[in-house]
């Protein structure tokens, strides 16, 4: 069975994949941050000196979305797995 691939469709799928990578990573980071954020706000209300460490903890899951973004960037700019098929 031959794989019939249209270059436009493949590029579109690549873009959808890139979007999903960033978007889902964003949701993940958000879920991670919500608990930490709530806890940090609670602690800072009791002890303002904790703000710096709290911020530090709160920003930890942010790396997740950067991973997603890295994957997206690779997909969009640096990786051409279908180059053989895509080139007419």
């Amino acid at each position: 069975m031959a794989i019939v691939a249209d270059a436009g469709v493949l590029y579109g799928l690549l873009a959808v994949g890139a979007g999903l990578a960033t978007g889902l990573a964003g949701i993940g980071a958000g879920v991670g941050e919500q608990g930490i954020g709530a806890a940090v706000v609670g602690v800072v209300a009791e002890e303002p000196g904790f703000l710096g460490k709290g911020l530090f903890l709160m920003l930890l899951p942010e790396t997740l979305i950067i991973f997603g973004l890295a994957v997206s960037l690779i997909l969009m700019f640096a990786w051409t797995p279908f180059s053989g098929i895509v080139t007419p």
Binding site: G52, F56, L59, L60, E62, T63, I66, L69, F77, A78
Partner: protein, 677 residues
């Protein structure tokens, strides 16, 4: 610079006769960080306050209650006072002014309470107006029970059943039925039980006389006259606040200073005839402290330096050497960032100078727009005049230096309020055919030029359109490169810190391998991209060596668990690119929307900017303003938060957290704000 100021441990011992001049001198010099005596040596007792400590604190309490009533908060001084003026006006301020403030404030509180009670009465009376009874009819009976309130369903029949003798008045208010029921006292219990089945809820009737409406009118009149009395009193308080604000703050400062001085001996050790003060002083100030104190005490005092070895013993026993950060004035605002995380310990490094180097560059790389940079700068200049407390000033300075860098990077990126916007109109653009050539050759880095200079840099990469794919790839590399340098600097500080603490194993087998791993991981990546396999092999080799070193380190094989985080540390620096792209993207979208969608559309499909109609241009500019404003707000917040995180998470963890927070150097004394020196 990177290290806190060198401190010396001193002991001051003297005769009790000279304790007052010594405390006075210490307060004036502001050099000695006093180590509180904890009273655990049998030869010495805790010192006792000197002079009029009690009076000062009583005065302070009086003053503080007046300042609280006037709602005076600490602020930047508008006016300073000499101590003599404060002293001469203090009596009047504390007694006459203070008493007047208190009396006025209490009268206002009383008025407010009375108004509240009248309002409650009006609230209770309003529904009663539907019943045909005067107010005195509701109370004052010996043999009758009265029920007044709302009922959900008609009650007449049931009440008549349990109490044949009754009088019931019913009225319908807006959304409830109001009833007033009078029954003989001995039937009260049964009637109450019956009423509760009808959803009866009782209203309390104020003990007033006459017609309901006229009673309400009287109450309203009362409220009005009370409010009339309150307004001038409030104005009086506001006037007094205006008149005495600075003087009160100056007096507060004077009294706090005096209290601190008179209570200072509580921190000293004392015998029957002598006192001993322990403390730290910056080493280069020791000679000055010694000579000044000795002349103040007329020789009846001994200031002694404690030898290093003995001082080390004290530290061993749990004494903290205070940390005084020492940075050039330009870098000093960044101490705020350090402080927000933790005060470095005396033996640790103070990273403020490094933050000064890296933070604004990262801020600039992310924001990178001449327009936004200039706007941020101007807004900050305005804010700087408004927020004059030290913390705000530092914060504003931090962002201000960042905004200068963002103007610089804006020039590299060719952005004035985003690409496609003003840059092309002011500085010019590449002609169409040259753009086509660059795109075909895969060397498209943007279309802007530097006026007649054209495009600059190798391959003509500047001004670089950040949204072009070549530029994105280049910026990925640059971000990781900055990450490697940033993390390596952190690791080097980590190694040196561990060596300062004498922990060689931690230095060479915990901190060093991390640096080797990260640097050579980046080299291997670079080799892959450039196709230089020799770099890949070299990188891989050193990575393996560094992993072996980690396993040999203090954590053993558990150290390997951290390896993924060293990779993610580096990838984390991609946020420099990513957040920048988001901000450029929004600016680009705004310009595209205004110039290529809204303006042509509203001009009836005009193709050229000269054909745009005036309403179209106005709507377009409004859209530009709104979107750019949102982007501008985000554009200050994200470039601030994310480099902050890169410092706290990626860099500080390499050297900072190992030994816990330090104690900040806070010398005994006072920085005069409202008082003239």
């Amino acid at each position: 610079m990177l290290r806190p100021v060198e401190m010396s441990r001193v002991v001051i011992a003297g005769s009790k006769d000279v304790i007052s001049p010594v405390v006075e001198k210490l307060h004036e010099l502001r050099l000695l960080h006093i180590v509180n005596y904890n009273g655990n040596q049998p030869e010495f007792e805790l010192g006792k306050p000197i002079g009029k400590a009690k009076e000062y604190s009583e005065d302070l309490i009086k003053l503080r209650s007046a300042t609280r009533y006037l709602d005076i908060k600490n602020k930047a001084p508008d006016k300073t006072y000499p101590e003599s003026q404060v002293l001469s006006e203090m009596d009047n301020l504390l007694n006459n002014v203070g008493a007047e403030v208190t009396a006025t404030f209490e009268r206002i509180t009383a008025i407010e309470a009375e108004v509240k009670s009248k309002q409650d009465q009006i609230k209770a009376l309003t529904p009663l107006s539907v019943l045909p009874l005067p107010l005195e009819a509701y109370y004052g009976y010996d043999s009758l029970a009265t029920f007044v309130g709302t009922a959900a369903t008609p009650v007449d029949a049931d009440v008549a059943r349990v109490s044949p003798v009754n009088e019931i008045f019913t009225g319908t208010a807006k959304n409830a039925t109001l009833v007033a029921i009078f029954v003989p006292l001995d039937k009260a219990g049964e009637v109450s039980a019956v009423l509760s089945e009808h959803g009866f809820s009782e209203t309390s009737v104020p003990k007033l006389e006459g017609n309901v409406d006229s009673a309400i009118a009287t109450l309203e009149g009362g409220i009005k006259s009370l409010e009339g009395e309150k307004a001038p009193l409030q104005k009086k308080l506001a006037d007094m606040k205006k008149q005495y604000e600075d003087l009160m703050l100056a007096t507060d400062e004077y009294l706090s200073m005096q209290t601190r001085k008179t209570e200072a001996p509580l921190r000293f050790a004392e015998t029957a005839n002598a006192f001993v003060i322990d403390g730290y002083v910056p080493s280069d100030q020791f000679a000055r402290l010694k000579s000044e104190l000795e002349s103040a005490a007329g020789g009846r005092l001994e200031v002694q330096l404690i030898a290093d070895k003995e001082a080390d013993d004290l530290v061993e026993k749990g004494e903290d050497i205070p940390t005084k950060m020492d940075n050039p004035s330009l870098a000093r605002p960044y101490e705020l960032v350090t402080r927000l995380f933790a005060i470095p310990e005396y033996k640790e490094f103070d990273p403020s100078l490094l933050i000064f180097v890296f933070f604004p560059i990262m801020f600039g790389m992310i924001l990178g727009d001449v327009g936004y940079g200039v706007m941020t700068f101007l807004v900050l200049i305005m804010l700087k005049k408004k927020f004059r407390t030290e913390g705000w000033q530092q914060l504003i300075n931090i962002v201000m230096i960042g905004s200068v860098w963002s103007i610089i990077f804006g020039v590299f990126y060719g952005e004035i309020f985003g690409p496609l916007g003003l840059w092309g109109r002011i500085m010019g653009q590449l002609p169409e055919h040259e753009l086509e050539l660059a795109k075909e050759a895969g060397l498209y880095f943007g279309e802007g030029v530097y006026g007649s200079l054209g495009r600059l840099g190798p391959l003509g990469i500047f001004p670089m359109d950040r949204l072009a794919s070549n530029a994105v790839l280049l910026l990925i590399g640059t971000s990781i490169f900055i990450g490697v340098i940033h993390c390596s600097v952190g690791s080097i500080l980590g190694i040196m810190t561990e060596l300062n603490y004498g922990e060689k194993k931690h230095a060479y087998f915990e901190r060093l391998p991390v640096m080797l791993f990260q640097v050579f991981f980046a080299i291997a990546l670079l080799g892959l991209v450039m196709g230089q396999m020799i770099m890949v092999y070299l990188g891989a080799l050193v990575i393996v060596v560094s992993i072996v070193m980690m396993v040999m380190g203090p954590e053993g094989a558990m150290g390997l668990a951290h390896v993924p985080s060293y990779v993610s540390n580096l990838i984390s620096y991609l946020r420099i690119l990513a957040i920048g792209l988001a901000s450029v993207g929004l600016a680009y979208a705004a310009n595209q929307l205004a110039f290529y969608v809204i303006m042509p559309m509203l001009s009836g499909g005009a193709k050229d900017s000269s054909e745009f109609t005036i309403p179209a241009i106005i709507v377009g500019i409004l859209v530009l303003l709104v979107v750019h404003f949102i982007n501008f707000l985000l554009g200050i917040l994200s470039p601030f938060m994310h480099p902050l995180r890169l410092h706290y998470v990626e860099m500080f963890t390499k050297f900072y957290s190992a030994h816990g927070g330090g104690v900040e150097y806070s010398p005994f004394g006072h920085v005069r704000r409202f008082l003239k020196a």
